[in-house]
Symmetry: none
DNA sequence: ATGGACATGTCCAT
DNA sequence: ATGGACATGTCCAT
């Protein structure tokens, strides 16, 4: 164990003997790093490690060499102990992207501003984000990590914590997590005080069980305005496509704001940004009044508008869950009932009431074909 | 023990044999009542007790008879198991009052509105309140209890809880208490879910150590606007002068609001009240839209300006409703109900049934926002 | 759902 | 400290 680490430390030039990296060692190194926040057991600080492995860490190397060199993936794990990176990384073989698709239904629960690369979303409301990437290496086990950070350079290191008010409502693995992902097998990582990438709160979603057109079903459980929490600071979402070794294969970032009036706030935000870069921010310990308050992402803002709005096409899939198979029904034209209800409890009551309507009719008419609808209703009620 | 209680229960007429009351028995009864929220050990409900002791509970009897009759104070402990009373009680021998004195210094930390009988104060800022009373019985051990309640009749039973955000900062005996009193030997009483007088959170200050001109040094540790806490409901402060047996010798009430801008809010409040009694409140589970939202104290609002400075009539004590609906209308996630039905006729019936579900809920909860869903349903039903 | 009014905390210049 | 502007949640009528 120590031996393998020693061999790592001895690396000091780009003439790396790549054969020496087998995935076993990498895994080991990776876990070594993450289980021990300060690397004390290795008696080496993370900076030293970064210095020694730094040449592997260039953004230019995310591609895999193993096909050419017939070796395992080039390790690129220094980011684990660094601050999150807010630059998109999509110009490699994986062509990773995350896309929002406007949904016809209750579209008001979120709105996206292309000019700001920012999504405005209500609290506890689903935001579906669709992964898009080329499966460049079919053997890689893929994950998408979703993480929240403060947008401003000064606040980036600061952990983004859920406010005590909203914390109170939840227990369990995501009690401290603002960002929830309701896809099955999502894993909640990090801790509330984590500063570097691997320690920050995030949700890790295995792609293994995600259908090709299935979105990440995200939910924000705290508002940007919450005092004792995000406290009106501006925030960003970072998605990273990762393999089983935590190599980063792609990255997609966007600003977000969890608020009560997405439309109003989006319009005001676009308006304000259009005119002049204002102050009146409590972000960062920046200069009194002149500071331009620039986001890390905005470094490339020249191309940002494009980046956003083109990220285009692709088919919206949105298979409606719970869609019924078409039953060839007798003479009567089958009809769909589709309504909006205030909450799940009332939806449940509504379903029960409809159940009674159908059951009553079936009883009165003796039309046992209606049983099909009861069964379908029961499925929804059971959920 | 049981015997002494039995003797109490046997009282059934005002011809009370006052000699039978010694302070020992009263103390015992009092502690019996308070240690056992439901009086289970006595196998008697508090209502029965009130019925039996009710004749002692008249507001007209707070005076002591012991000088005349040479017996201990007339017991008056039924209030312990009732909702707090919001009427001033100063027209007796004790002439109890609590007074604010404008301080030259940092006067901005609070402001008092005479016309509203309301003090506007900043969070975590000292509010000195000066007790004034005639020491009618020099042998009595005196206390002043300070308690916070919701002003509106509907919300009065609801415990006033500190929001989780502000709770987080404190530990110890006043962790849950919004109202702090920094005088030495202040004792924190009650519990967060207490509904009746003796169980509600309060601070009890022994007068023994208070110099004659010394004020109660109060501090509010949570704002009226705090969600998860007072949640913008209007609130009142109740001071009661009590003896060592918890008899109430005097009472002084005032509205208060803990806010960031006392001056602005005071002016706006006075302005608004001057014109017309408005709605736009989240207080009480009141009727849909017409409810006048009246404070207990405001029942006499016609004379309130006077009342403040005099001390009025009489008024009923609100009884404890078994439950009070929680109006807390946080943002519920809207949901869509989508089902397939055999034909239009049944769809119509289904819509009717759902309509009834929502209408019923709206009626029960008084949540008029649900009307939107009824309207939408009606559109579909009309088709 | 939606837009307007409002309530109320925060920032900022003086 | 103070008043004005602003940010942002909530209520309400449609
Ligand atoms: Zn929150
Ligand atoms: Zn940006
Ligand atoms: Zn609070
Ligand atoms: Zn009043």
């Amino acid at each position: 164990m120590v031996e393998s680490q020693d061999s790592l430390y001895s690396l000091s030039s780009p003439d790396l003997d790549l054969d020496r990296f087998d995935t076993g060692e990498l895994n080991l190194l990776s876990s070594q790093l993450s289980q021990n926040g300060e690397l004390k057991s290795l008696e080496i600080d993370s900076q030293t490690l970064v210095n020694n492995l730094g040449f592997l860490a260039q953004e230019e190397y995310p591609q895999y060499f193993h096909e050419i060199l017939e070796i395992p993936p080039l390790p690129n794990l220094d980011h684990l102990r660094q601050l999150p990176n807010l630059e998109d990384m999509s110009e490699n073989n994986w062509k990773f992207d995350m896309q929002l698709k406007s949904e016809s239904g209750n579209k008001s629960s979120w709105l996206y501003s292309g000019s700001l690369n920012k999504v405005f979303v209500k609290i506890n409301t689903p935001l579906n984000v669709y992964p898009a990437f080329v499966r460049y290496d079919v053997n890689a086990e893929l994950f998408i990590r979703a993480m929240i950070v403060y947008s401003s350079q000064n606040d980036l290191p600061e952990p983004v914590k859920k406010c005590p008010n909203h914390k109170e409502k939840y227990t369990g693995c995501f009690a401290d997590h603002i960002l929830r992902c309701d896809n099955t097998e999502s894993v909640y990582r990090g801790n509330e005080n984590g500063k570097v990438f691997e320690e920050k709160l995030a949700v890790l979603v295995p792609m293994k069980n995600i259908a090709s057109n299935e979105p990440l079903k995200l939910t924000f459980t705290c508002q940007n305005s919450c005092s004792g929490g995000m406290n009106r600071k501006s925030t960003s979402l970072i998605f990273t496509l990762e393999d089983q070794y935590q190599n980063i294969l792609g990255r997609k970032c966007m600003h977000f704001k969890v608020c009560s009036c997405p439309r109003r706030d989006k319009e005001k935000d676009e308006q304000t940004t259009k005119t002049l870069p204002k102050k009146r921010k409590i972000e960062g310990s920046n200069a009194p009044s002149t500071s331009k308050k620039q986001h890390l992402m905005q470094k490339q803002d020249s191309t940002e508008t494009l980046m956003m709005d083109q990220s285009p096409v692709e088919s919206p899939i949105a298979t409606i869950p719970g869609t019924f198979m078409n039953i060839k029904q007798e003479q009567d034209a089958q009809v769909e009932l589709k309504i909006l209800l205030p909450n799940d409890a009332l939806k449940k009551k509504a379903l029960d009431a409809v159940y009674n309507v159908i059951a009553g009719e079936m009883s009165r008419s003796g039309n046992s074909a209606l049983n099909y609808y009861l069964t379908e209703l029961q499925k929804q009620i059971g959920k």
